[in-house]
């Protein structure tokens, strides 16, 4: 046992191992293992953070199944499906990015991380269409819930009217637009001041955030084609609604309202009698507390969206370091950790999709 080792000078921080190994770690593997355990623990906290919302969801679904039956027609399962695909694809690109980071191929990492970020933004774009469509119809949280059927037009003369979109969408889109402009301007400045890395990074960021508009346009196009989507207002929704109302009583004894609310039973009947010229669900067909479903919906998807935005920020950091070429086969931890976080966001969505969009 070597007792006294007058190793490095007391305040000498420079050790003989690699560039990115912090002074308090013995070697790259210890650093990687620490980081890995740390990120897994962080994911545990994330799961428990979301768990509160899952408890609220389960509770209200078990106690008030009728609310969930009435409410889910407002959610467009095809938009949800589209978003699921986008997120799954982003998970694939992220996993591949981690693979190339492990192989030390920084150039590849750049492209795959960029792909992940574009998907992330596109997800938010689709989400923006979904949200603003609901806001237009007054589908809000419990206290503000004020559903009014029918098509909502932006006032004439506004930009929203010209584009044929919701006013809220214009407000929401200002944020990514400003971010894109900011990065584009900075890309130009960096180019002029001879900072190729910063310039390239800014161009990538502008493209990444641009994904938002791809998603928003896809969502908008879908809404146009289906005349407002398959939730809420359209003829198609009317047929679906009528079909479901007929089939409900036959096939779903467990999910039927337990005759707890007298009015809900009446609602069910009125809905069934209105099969022929159906204009979408009418306000008086709902249980009073239907807004609670949307409270939970906004909390869950909103918190999820915040995690997506945070994920984009983390990915931007990974992108920058990939451009600088930091990753090696013995130092790729950050890509792996951010990847794990990103997959968790995907995991949560995998559960949110059937829980919120596919209620029958």
């Amino acid at each position: 046992m070597a007792v006294v080792e007058p190793e490095h000078g007391a305040h000498d921080d420079h050790h003989d191992h690699g560039d990115f190994i912090a002074h308090h770690f013995d070697n790259a593997e210890q650093q990687f293992d620490s980081g890995k355990l740390g990120i897994w623990l962080f994911l545990v906290t994330e799961v428990l953070f979301f768990s509160g919302l899952f408890v609220a969801y389960t509770l209200y679904r078990v106690l008030h199944p009728e609310i969930f039956d009435q409410a889910h027609v407002f959610l467009d399962k095809y938009l949800g499906f589209l978003n699921t695909l986008v997120l799954l694809f982003s998970s694939l690109t992220m996993a591949v990015a981690v693979r190339y980071a492990q192989l030390g191929k920084n150039g590849h990492v750049v492209w795959y991380v960029l792909g992940t970020m574009v998907c992330a933004s596109a997800f938010l774009g689709v989400k923006a269409i979904e949200y603003t469509h609901k806001w237009d119809q007054g589908i809000l949280v419990r206290s503000a819930f004020d559903y009014h059927a029918g098509h909502h037009e932006a006032p004439a003369g506004t930009l929203a009217h010209t584009l044929g979109v919701s006013e809220y969408l214009i407000y929401l889109s200002v944020i990514p637009l400003l971010v894109i402009i900011g990065f584009a301007v900075y890309a130009g400045i960096a180019k002029l001041t001879d900072k190729p890395n910063a310039s390239f990074f800014s161009v990538c960021m502008a493209i990444a955030v641009g994904g938002y508009f791809v998603g928003a346009m896809a969502g908008h196009f879908y809404m146009e084609v289906t005349d407002g989507g398959f939730g809420g207002r359209s003829e198609a929704a009317a047929e679906m609604m009528a079909y479901e109302n007929e089939t409900h009583s036959d096939h779903e004894p467990t999910n039927k309202p337990v005759d707890h609310h007298d009015e809900s039973a009446v609602d069910q009947q009125t809905a069934e009698s209105k099969v022929a010229p159906y204009q979408g669900p009418q306000p008086d067909e709902f249980d009073q507390d239907i807004g609670i479903f949307f409270s939970i919906y906004y909390c869950m998807t909103g918190l999820h969206a915040i995690h997506i935005i945070a994920g984009i920020a983390f990915l931007a950091w990974i992108l920058w370091r990939s451009i600088l070429g930091h990753w090696r086969s013995d130092y790729f931890g950050p890509v792996d950790y951010v990847g794990l976080y990103w997959h968790l966001v995907d995991l949560i969505w995998i559960y949110l999709f059937p829980l919120l969009y596919l209620i029958d």
Partner: protein, 119 residues
């Protein structure tokens, strides 16, 4: 997997594997969507559980291959999976109780509502 790198702790997942996992995930998503759209006889009561099982299977695929659990230290896997145990505990114990006083809440006078909803 490839242990030939000097670090020794990197386990790059083969590209083909990742792609197949992605395709499987997409197919499973389509399956859930189809099951919810086409009302089969056995859906309904079991529909929720079928949807949840498929979601859990998808989650397992993501965890095993995208999140590298397949190659990871068992301790890390244990740490992460233990979180689900506590979530189940949380949901389970809360749920056993709340139906007990449901009526009290349902009968509580609601805030007069400005919306056009039925009283």
């Amino acid at each position: 997997m490839s242990h030939d790198h000097d670090g020794g702790f990197a386990h790059p997942a083969p590209f083909k594997l990742l792609l197949s996992v992605f395709i499987a995930l997409v197919l499973l998503t389509i399956l859930t969507l189809a099951l919810s759209s086409v009302d089969l006889g056995l859906m309904g009561a079991f529909g929720f559980w079928i949807a949840m099982s498929i979601a859990s299977f998808k989650a397992a695929l993501v965890m095993l291959f995208f999140m590298h659990m397949y190659w990871d230290k068992p301790f890390n896997v244990l740490v992460f999976l233990s979180s689900t145990l506590f979530v189940i505990l949380f949901i389970g114990l809360t749920l056993t109780d709340t139906s007990h006083y449901k009526n009290t809440i349902d009968e509580y006078p609601r805030q007069p509502d400005t919306s056009t909803m039925a009283p």
